[in-house]
Symmetry: C2
Amino acid sequence: MERSRLENTRPPGRPRSAAAHGAILDAAIALIREAGYDALTMEAIAARAGVGKATVYRRWPGKETLVAEAIGRIVRAVPTPDTGSAAEDLRTLMRATLRMYQDPATAPLLSGLVAAMARSAPIAAAVRAEFVGPRREGMRAVLARGAARGELRADTDLELALDLLSGAPFYRYLVHGGAVDEALVEGAVDAVLRAFAPEVGPITRKGGG
Amino acid sequence: MERSRLENTRPPGRPRSAAAHGAILDAAIALIREAGYDALTMEAIAARAGVGKATVYRRWPGKETLVAEAIGRIVRAVPTPDTGSAAEDLRTLMRATLRMYQDPATAPLLSGLVAAMARSAPIAAAVRAEFVGPRREGMRAVLARGAARGELRADTDLELALDLLSGAPFYRYLVHGGAVDEALVEGAVDAVLRAFAPEVGPITRKGGG
DNA sequence: CCGTTTCGATACGCTTGCGTTCCGAAACCC
DNA sequence: GGGTTTCGGAACGCAAGCGTATCGAAACGG
């Protein structure tokens, strides 16, 4: 292969193990799940990954940047539904959110991530870019399509609607401690749909799709 | 004063300083504000309070119980309005919430408290009892009165409404990073009022007050 | 085969914070 | 004044985690 040599002149010596790289990131996520962000130690990461500490420090200068990169591994690819009904699409998305809160392997991550975000701007940026952003954009698209279709008021404050939908289960889980269940997410969707329903005017029946 | 001697037989020796007690709790809160819960150290608390570490450990067995007691000092006495209009009362309460989020001395506490709650059940209980509970009960009372008065649907899910109202600014501040401003809290109140408005029946005009 | 680099593993020095213990001084009761 | 306890302050031993250094072995290019 001449190409690879010409394109990025492979440095001499033994190449870095991609497997080790991935194992380290996976170990970091697993440990955050189990004990939270601030119980996370570089030693534990290396041990869990079956890797020497030097192998970790060779790749990342410290815990912060490592975690920032690992964030992207938490949850992947939440497909954005588009059935033609904002109500149905919202329910689909919120049920996926519900699953996350009910998953004992994922929910404990939340408080750790919140704490990490508050303390580190790079981590906050990474969480928003890799984790919050994509989900929020998907939901925003659903709401925007609903507004365009007339299911929601044209002047709906999408950001407010998004924060209402995402904030309710988030707040209940982290602060209030109540049950994050189907009733909550369904209720939140219904409430938002009612709150931003178009004015009940002269015609306006239901059959829009 | 014979009474005090008879009632609780004061122990011999120099009595514990109430001033030191308060200074320690205040110092703990001040330090959480400045650097977050997990940057909080017993040494820093004692130093800030102008107190020896022994004086701290004589009163609390560790950081956790100390913080649990200090929580009550963060914010005091949020009077529950009762003007006869749930809309107006809600706006009053949410504006108080807004002030908390906009206060640079208070807002940074939130993420620290969330992290502390996630790690310690006693702290979680203390935060809910001293901080979240009273505010939530006040707002629940406002909503309940509104429902009784017919401003809200009789079957309104109060817990859901509360989580929507409190969750939106909470989520925006901690996760999304957007501006927590008047538009957000006013919008949230309006949205909840619309979401749980009684069915638009025959009469129902606006003049309720 | 030789030089270079990474590999997993271990040991090291360093810092930080915990919780305890001591000190002389002060405050309280008898 | 004597006995007791707390006071603020400092020192202590201990444990944990950081980031670096070193080891022999292994994986590459030339």
